[in-house]
């Protein structure tokens, strides 16, 4: 049989070229720009200025993304767990039908929904007020860091829950039945039997969700306009208002580092998992 490998490479080449030209090249360009001063010399000026101006926003971003990821994981585990362990078919079916709705809703639409829902006079406050639980005149709405977290969790939970419940459903049910026969409750089975076995899938899904949240520009702008804000908003501001690509790229570099941190946790987890086997 003749060697057809060059042909295979030829088939992949166009796709590869597009990713190299429109992703890898701009990425390299961004890295160089971050470490170059306005006069063209290599320097750390951009980072000094960045930490001067945006340290609060960097911490703010980290906290928001970390808290959102943690809450997403928690809700996804609860949903996945109930879908697999729930004893009431009607409730399971209803939950399965309910939780997926935000899955493909674009972030910008989610942001617009939440912008009205979480506002001072939005449906959330109005409903609580109508039920007599709170007095709407004394409330301020959630359009700040809390609103960003709510939107992120609302949007990302279905994705993570989908992957997690899929992985849980594929597990061998024998161990679940065994634990149940020995008297373990559902919560205990979820935490001690299901979650450890699907930890890999959960980590992949959460890392993807984490990176996605770091990449969203519309949600922080539309939910919380003021300061402090997320570094995606700062990047857009440096570029649009000052054409200051140096600082914008330094912020970009920091966002890569934060994503890298998440990826590192993932890789370390995988290595640890393989060592344990």
């Amino acid at each position: 049989m003749p060697d057809r490998r060059p042909l295979s490479l030829l088939l992949v080449a166009p796709a590869l070229a597009v990713v190299l030209a429109l992703f890898v090249y701009p990425l390299g360009y961004s890295l160089v720009s971050a470490f170059t001063a306005r006069d063209g010399q290599p320097s750390l000026d951009n980072f000094i200025k960045t930490f001067d101006l945006y340290t609060t926003d960097i911490v703010f971003t980290l906290v928001i993304v970390a808290v959102s990821t943690a809450l997403t994981g928690l809700f996804a585990a609860a949903i996945g767990g109930y879908l697999v362990l729930g004893a009431h078919p009607a409730a399971v079916t209803l939950l399965k039908w309910l939780y997926r709705w935000p899955l493909f809703i674009p972030f910008i639409v989610a942001a617009q929904c939440m912008r009205t829902f979480l506002a001072k006079n939005g449906m959330l406050n109005n409903t609580l007020d109508a039920l007599g639980l709170v007095d709407v005149t004394g409330l301020s709405g959630l359009l700040d860091w809390r609103g960003i977290i709510v939107t992120f969790v609302w949007k990302e939970t279905p994705f993570v829950a989908l992957l997690v419940s899929g992985a849980m459903a594929a597990l061998d049910r024998a161990s679940i039945e065994a634990a149940r026969n020995l008297g373990a409750g559902s919560l205990r089975i979820l935490v001690e039997i299901l979650l450890p076995q699907i930890a890999g899938v959960m980590t992949v899904a959460l890392v993807l969700a984490f990176v996605t949240m770091l990449s969203v520009l519309s949600v922080p702008i539309m939910i919380s306009g003021g300061s402090p804000t997320m570094i995606t908003v700062d990047m857009a501001f440096r570029v649009n208002s000052y054409s200051d690509y140096g600082v914008a790229n330094a912020l970009g570099f920091i966002s890569y580092l934060i994503a890298g941190l998440a990826a590192w946790i993932y890789v370390r987890h995988n290595v640890a998992g393989q060592a344990a086997e």
């Binding site: 992949v12 990713v19 701009p26 997926r100 910008i108 449906m123 899938v201 990176v211 690509y245 966002s255």
Partner: protein, 267 residues
């Protein structure tokens, strides 16, 4: 008694979840049909289609941006499939040197936060005159959609039974003819899914268009964004609904593909 309590508990949790999922969507719906709504009224004072008329008037910015969005998404699908079909075929069907490395490069765009990438692309595009053009926006959308398109295409080709291809080859069909008349039609449903996915991604894309499209290319998400920040909630809600409907339809459509067996393979 405990039985009733159990159902009360389940009903309240599911009710809360339903409110959390549908509350924000309901609020959007109300805004899309509200003509008059101000504080402290809990519900709109007047309903109607006035703002729908404003959006769908052929001379409106929103209507023009809808056509632009659909045009861009359609070209993006064609470009993506032209790139992803050969790549997916090679990745799943043929021996490929450096396969792992190529896969990693193709997956990179999903592994990095993208805002910094987009404004640098905009800066590079500006130098070559691609900024503010349909072609520029299509390229950005295609690069973004390519990852998922190659992934789905590779899975679709991998699912085609190799025996059928062998049979075609034994009967004297050339490799190209086998690929075009046996493999491609069998992989068509998967490729269709990839096309729909890329179309939706492009339709909904905001950040890349925000940087690369200015000042001449305005898509529906940009109109929605501008209307929302200007406090024009009715226009924002109507345009958001236009974006929402295909997303929900897609979610319901692929429900049967989202079965547990397929998902178990993802991790």
């Amino acid at each position: 008694m405990t039985l009733a309590l159990g159902w009360l508990w389940r009903a309240s949790v599911l009710g809360l979840l339903a409110f959390a999922v549908f509350g924000p969507l309901a609020n959007l719906l109300l805004w899309a049909f509200a003509i008059q709504w101000y504080y402290p009224h809990r519900l709109p004072l007047a309903y109607g289609f006035r703002y729908w008329g404003a959006v769908f008037k052929p001379t409106s910015d929103a209507f023009a941006s809808l056509s632009t969005s659909v045009l861009i998404a359609t070209i993006t699908v064609v470009v993506c499939l032209l790139l992803a079909i050969p790549a997916g075929y090679a990745l799943s069907r043929r021996r490929l040197p450096g396969r792992g490395f190529i896969l990693i490069i193709l997956l990179l765009p999903q592994a990095f936060p993208s805002v910094a990438i987009y404004f640098n692309i905009a800066r590079l595009f500006y130098k070559v005159g691609l900024n503010g053009t349909i072609a520029g926006v299509v390229l950005v959308h295609a690069a973004h959609g390519l990852v998922i398109a190659v992934w789905i295409a590779a899975a679709a080709f991998a699912a085609v039974d190799g025996e059928l291809e062998f049979a075609a080859r034994n009967l004297g069909a050339s490799p190209l003819r086998t690929a075009l008349t046996v493999t491609l039609p069998l992989a068509a449903p998967g490729l269709m899914a990839a096309a729909i996915f890329v179309f939706l991604e492009s339709l909904d894309e905001f950040t890349g268009t925000y940087f690369v499209g200015v000042p001449d290319v305005t898509t529906l998400p940009l109109i929605m964004f501008t209307a929302s920040l200007a406090g024009n909630y009715q226009i924002a809600a109507v345009t958001a609904l236009i974006l929402l409907v295909p997303s929900i339809a897609f979610m319901l459509l692929i429900e049967r593909f989202l079965n547990t067996e397929m998902l178990a393979k993802v991790g």
